[in-house]
Amino acid sequence: MSADPIVNISGLNKWYGEFHVLRDIDLEVTKGERIVICGPSGSGKSTLIRCINALEEFQEGEIVVDGIELGPNLKHVDAVRREVGMVFQSFNLFPHLTVLDNCTLAPIWVRNIPKKDAEETAMKFLERVKIPHQANKFPGQMSGGQQQRVAIARALTMNPKVMLFDEPTSALDPEMVKEVLDTMVDLAEEGMTMLVVTHEMGFAKEVANRVVFMDAGQIIEANTPSEFFATPQHARTKLFLSQILR
C-alpha cells in the first residue's frame, strides 16, 4: 500500500497448543506511523506485539521488520530485536542495577559503545523522560510512573526504529498514567514509529494514525481514530467501544 513499510506482517498464524491465538493477521506499518491496538482481554494483542519482537515464535506467516525477514523458525532474531524497542506493562527494569546502568547495559554489551558515550546517551534519554536526577537510584526506590519512564528511556537508548508498547500504563496508579502518556506523546511528536497496545482512548484519539481493533485473534477493524470512534463498522467494535467509553 503505502510507500515505506517498516513492519510488514502477512498471513500470521499462531497457536498455543491447540488454541488458535492469532489468525491470518495482515498488518503493514509505515515509517512514522502510530498505531494503537485495542480489543477485549485475551484477544491476542500482547501476543501479536510479542511476535513482532520475536519473543514468541509463530507457526505460519511472515514478519518483515525494516527489510529483515522473521520467518516461523526465527532467523535474524537478533537483527530484528536491535531495530525494535519494547516497553512492558510491568516495566521489567533490572532491580539490581541503577537506573543509569539499566540504560547503558544494552548499548555497552550489544552495540559495544564505550561506557562514557553510553552514559551520555542514556542521560540524554533520561532527560527526555524528565528524570535525569534519579539516574543513580535503584528502580525499587522509584514510583511506578517513574519506572515506566525509565523503561521507555532504556528502550530508546538502543535507537530502535520501531517502539512497541504493551499496555504501558495499566499497572500504574491514575496520577502516574498521565506522566507516562505525556512521554509517549512527546515521542510520537518526534516521529517515532509506534505500536501501542492500550485502552487509553484519549491517547489514541490524540496521537494515533490508525486504531486497530482485535478480537478472537484477528484484526476486526482498522481505521483512523476519528472514523474509528465516530463510526465503528463492525458489531463487535461497537460493543467494545460502548463498554470502554462511558
Binding site: R81, R82, D117
Partner: protein, 401 residues
Amino acid sequence: MGVEARKPPTQIALKLRRALGGKAGWNGVAVQLVFGAILAWIAYEIISNARTNLETQHIAAGFGFLQNSASFDVNQTLISYSGSDTYFRVFVVGVLNTLLVSVIGIFFATLIGFVVALCRLSPNWLVSRVGGLYVEAIRNLPLLFQILFWYLAVLAALPNPRQSVSILGSFFLNNRGVIVPSPLAQPGLVPFLAMLALGLVASLVLRSYARRALFAQGRVIRIWPYVLTLLVGLPLVTMLVFGLPFSFEFPQLKGFNFAGGARIIPELVALTVGLSTYTAAFIAEIVRAGIQSVHKGQMEAGSSLGLSRGTALRLIVVPQAMRVIVPPLTNQYLNLTKNSSLAVAIGYPDLVSVWAGTSLSQTGQAIEIIATTMGVYLLISLFTSAVMSIYGWRLNRSLGA
C-alpha cells in the same frame, strides 16, 4: 504559636531500666535475676558433679595429654604424621581431614546440585522428570543410610588389588582406592609453577583489560586465545627449557598392595559421594527456587534489548538469582560440613573419628576432647554465619532497599 522542637529529656533512670530489664522494666530485672540464678545453679551443679566424679576417679583434667605421643596410625593424613607424633597433631590431622572431605564434598555438591537444578528446569520433560526423581529419592533417605550404602557399593563393585582395573598401566582402580602416579618435584618445577602463576595473573589482567576496553572504547577483545597461550603455552615453553617440572612415581603392585603413587581411599570416595549427592539434592531445590524467583519478564526484557541468551543470563538473571540462592546455599555447606562427622561410621579418619573416637578412648579425656570437637564445628559455623551476614549486608546496601 508553634512549639519549637526540643531535645528529649535524658531520663537516665528509665534508660537504665530499659537496658537492664527490657520493656518489662524492673519486672524484667527480677525475671532475669531468677533466670540467671537458675542458670548459675545448673552450671554449678554440672561443674561440681563433674569435678567430684573426675576426682574420685583420679582423672587429671586439662590439656596436658596433648603433648603425649599418640602411638596409633591414621591411614590418611594431609600433614606428615606417624604413631610417634603427639595427640595435638592427631587433632590437626582430624581437622584437616574433616576440612578436606568438606571442601571436596562442597565442590561436587554444588556441581551436581546446579546440574540437577538445570535438569529440573529443562524444557525437556524426560530430563526434568529425571531431575525430580533424583531429588525426591535422595532427599527422603537418611544420609547415614546413603553413606553406608555407598561404602558397601563401592567396596562391592571394585576388584582386589591383584585384579585392579588399570588405565595405561599407571592408574589403578581397586578396593584399596584409586591409585595414581604421584608427582615428584624436579628442578624444572619452580620455573614451571612460576610461569603457571604468571599465566594466571596475566589472564586475569587481560580479562580486566578487555572489560575496560569494552567500557572505554567499545572494543570487543576476544581473549580466550591469549588466555590459552598464557596458561598452556608458557608452562610448555618452560618445560622445553628447564625439562619436565616433575617426574611421576608410578604405582607398582608389590606384595598385597600398590607401592608408590598416591592413593584416594575408598572411605573418602564413599563419604564424598554420599555427602555430595545428598547435599546436591537440597542445593538443586535451592537453585531452582532461586532461578524461578527471577521474574520471566527480566529475561524477556533482556532479549528485547538485543542481549544474547548467555549475556542476559550472566548479567541479569544470575545476579538476581544469587541473592536468593546464597544464604540457604551457605546453610547447606554448613550442613555438609557437620554431616561429614558421619565419617565415623565407615572408618574415614575425620575429626570425630580420630579425635573424639580413637584419641578419646586412648586418653579418657572425654570432657576436653568432646568440648574441642564441638568447638571446632561451632567455630566453622560461626565463621560462616559472620561471612554470610556481611554478604547480606553488602547486598542490601548495593540494592539500596
